[in-house]
């Protein structure tokens, strides 16, 4: 994991001091609401329904145990004993006081954390594959490049006032687990014909009001040109992106309106002028890679026999292993998902006690590191198979071992109307209802891989348009209604979900979901997944049943 040097540390401490001055100026009335809004957003601070919300950066989802304990401390001291993990691997606190935010930032800086550019119309936190460095289908570990991009984006002077927010995701594996096709820029590590590894660059993807799948702008980019190419795209976007309408200001609209051919011509012309001055030298790449060297795996970890034995003897453990752990490139190791989707909690939420306990488990079983995932869970990425049984027992005691990873109750869900001032409709209550309706684990496992994503408004923070089942809250004359979509996906065969029909009333949503799942169970072929069945039959059979009584 990347460790800060003096430059990193000075920079975040100076940012804390700067934000403290900005907050004091605002509280003294020296800067306007409008001005402070832009300044606080660039430091992750929203003013929400009940209180400010502070979003803290989880750089490409990687955290250590010390940082997790600090989050627990902040939850206890400045918030209501919990925090929330987001789809872009960040962490949110829902109840801090504005005057205390500089103190929180100072606490974070003491463990190499910050809230820089977690919101606002600027370059946001770079996200990546939660299995980076450990998965078996990896071309190259994307994290060193994420770190290089993190540094390049942080306090970039030219691109702090973009037309709109700008998100970059990097994937280094064959399966895209980072939704790179739905980012402003998506980077895939790929191998060219000469056997060299570089980047395939996608641009103009995005979710929100106008979901668009990103297009390839550069099929192969040499690593040394990474930063110059990003800079060329950003300069063209900064100069030509629309600023007259915030709903048309993302780069996807610029790409769409100018056409890919013209847009890429502009980028290419700019890039050729700057690429020599911004070359990434190999020494820097290698030095950054060294920060992500694999931990000291035990060579004989696969010799253990207890792991297989425990699975034979304990069905609940075997089920958890099947759903909540995944293959690892090191023999005798697995990556273990920590489910933040227990039936009675809001998806992605975690208490201070759980944070402290998971920090201890990470120290004991996974080299002191924790990752957050795009689907709002955590991962201990490097667990010896012999340790999985005691790990499971302890997670179970913490209500963090619900064996639902990748199933219908592993929902992505935004905070919705209960917390967010943008939302049109509630989400957490419906998530709870769906959980109660699907409380039979055997039934849930029989349904298998179904990704349900639910957002409380069309800004789409929970990526409903790429959910296998998407649920979107809409407001109709002050009443909460819900629009369902089917067939979306953010993985390799990216797709935007198709509308099922007219929106439905709040008390009908859970029934509609169980109806959709019943249709799937009855009409699927052999091992056909939910997504494949939707592709095969379309939305009609589902639609007929969901709207049968209306």
């Amino acid at each position: 994991m990347y460790q800060y040097n003096d430059i990193d540390q000075s920079l975040i401490e100076q940012r804390v001091a700067q934000f403290r001055r900005q907050t004091e100026s605002f509280l003294k009335g020296q800067i306007s609401d409008d001005q402070f809004r832009a300044l606080r957003l660039m430091n992750g601070l929203y003013i929400q329904t009940h209180a400010p919300m502070l979003r803290i950066a989880g750089p490409y989802g990687l955290l250590n145990s010390k940082q997790l304990r600090k989050l627990a401390h902040i939850a206890r001291t400045y918030d209501k004993n919990y925090c929330h993990f987001t789809t872009r691997q960040n962490i949110q606190f829902n109840w801090p006081q504005l005057e205390k935010v500089p103190d929180i930032l100072e606490e974070l800086a003491s463990v190499q954390m910050h809230a820089i550019q977690t919101s606002g119309n600027c370059l946001r936190n770079t996200s990546t594959d939660h299995l980076a460095g450990v998965c078996i289908d990896e071309i190259e570990d994307p994290r060193p490049y994420c770190e290089i991009i993190r540094q390049w984006t942080t306090l970039h002077p030219e691109f702090a006032y973009l037309p709109r927010k700008f998100k970059i995701a990097v994937s280094g594996a064959k399966l895209d687990r980072a939704a790179t096709q739905f980012h402003d820029i998506g980077l895939h590590l790929v191998e060219n014909d000469a056997g060299e590894i570089g980047f395939r660059v996608l641009v103009g993807g995005g979710l929100g009001r106008t979901p668009i799948i990103g297009q390839v702008i550069k099929p192969y980019l040499d690593k040394k040109h990474l930063l110059s190419y990003l800079e060329a795209i950003l300069r063209i976007y900064n100069l030509f992106g629309r600023r007259d309408n915030k709903y048309k200001a993302r780069i996807k609209i610029l790409v769409k309106e100018s056409g890919m051919e013209k847009f890429s011509e502009l980028v290419e012309k700019e890039w050729l002028l700057i690429r020599n001055a911004l070359e990434l030298d190999n020494g820097r790449i290698e030095a950054t890679k060294a920060q992500f060297a694999p931990p000291a795996y035990e060579a004989d970890a696969a010799q253990d026999t207890g792991f297989a034995q425990h699975q034979l003897e304990n069905k609940a453990f075997a089920t958890w292993v099947k759903y909540n752990t995944t293959d690892h490139k090191a023999p005798g190791y697995r990556a273990a998902f920590i489910s933040l989707k227990a039936p009675d909690t809001a998806p992605g939420d975690m208490t201070d006690t759980q944070l402290d306990a998971v920090a201890d488990l990470a120290d004991r079983y996974s080299f002191g590191e924790i990752r957050s995932t795009h689907r709002q869970n955590l991962i201990l990425a490097d667990v010896k198979q012999a340790d999985l049984f005691p790990l499971w027992q302890q997670l179970d005691g913490l209500k963090l071992a619900t064996a639902n990873n990748g199933t219908a109750t592993d929902m992505i869900c935004c905070p919705g109307l209960d917390f967010c001032s943008l939302a049109n409709a509630g989400t957490i209550g419906i998530a709870k209802e769906i959980n109660e309706a699907l409380d039979d684990l055997d039934y849930l496992h029989d349904i298998g891989d179904v990704k349900i994503n639910m957002s409380g408004c069309m800004n789409g923070c929970a990526h409903q348009s790429v959910g296998h089942i998407g649920i979107l809250g809409v407001d109709k004359k002050g009443v909460e209604w819900y629009q369902l979509t089917l067939g979306g996906s953010s993985e390799n065969e990216a797709a935007i979900g198709e509308r099922l029909g007219p929106s439905i009333a709040k008390d009908q949503v859970t029934k509609a979901i169980t109806t959709i799942l019943d249709v799937y169970i009855k009409q699927r072929l052999d091992d056909e997944s939910f997504l494949n069945m939707v592709k095969r039959v379309g939305t009609t059979p589902f639609k007929e049943q969901v709207y049968a009584n209306n």
Partner: protein, 150 residues
């Protein structure tokens, strides 16, 4: 009127002449449109002439004239219009402009650090009382991660 120039608070005598106003004596700046229209007349003036650029203007349009222009004003209609930052970078980084680049209009004192990094060396603040705070804000950070102009 006082401004910040090269990290000092100094007196300033430049004034902007609107497109529909008569040219006057002294150091003046004009819009890029007027510069293009009245270029010969302006070049014959015994006073210094600066050009004011807005976010929607193209720096490339006056690239060939930059040697004759001692002052470029980058004018913010609203503080959030970030095109100004790329204009400054292009003037210094692409066209090697050596004259004064001055931020004017509706920008915030909290933006002067970023502006200075992309090559702006003078700041005319809306509220002159903010000058000392803005001067300090130029030193908000002693380190940076990425290449820019400074």
């Amino acid at each position: 009127m006082q401004i910040i120039k090269d990290k000092q608070i100094v007196d300033d005598s430049w004034s902007f002449v609107a497109d529909d106003a008569e040219l006057k004596d002294g150091n003046i700046s004009v819009s890029i449109a007027r510069w293009k229209k009245d270029k010969q007349q302006l070049l014959n003036s015994s006073d210094k002439i600066g050009v004011r650029i807005g976010p929607a203007d193209s720096v490339e349009d006056i690239a060939a004239d930059l040697k004759d222009i001692p002052l470029i004003e980058l004018d913010f209609p609203a503080f959030a219009d970030g095109r100004i930052f790329s204009h400054a970078w292009l003037l210094r980084g692409r066209y090697n402009y050596q004259g004064e680049i001055r931020a004017t209009g509706h920008f915030m004192r909290d933006q002067v650090y970023y502006l200075s990094r992309v090559g702006v060396n003078a700041f005319r603040l809306e509220n002159p009382e903010d000058l000392p705070v803005a001067l300090n804000a130029l030193n908000d950070f002693s380190v940076s991660y990425q290449k820019s102009i400074h």
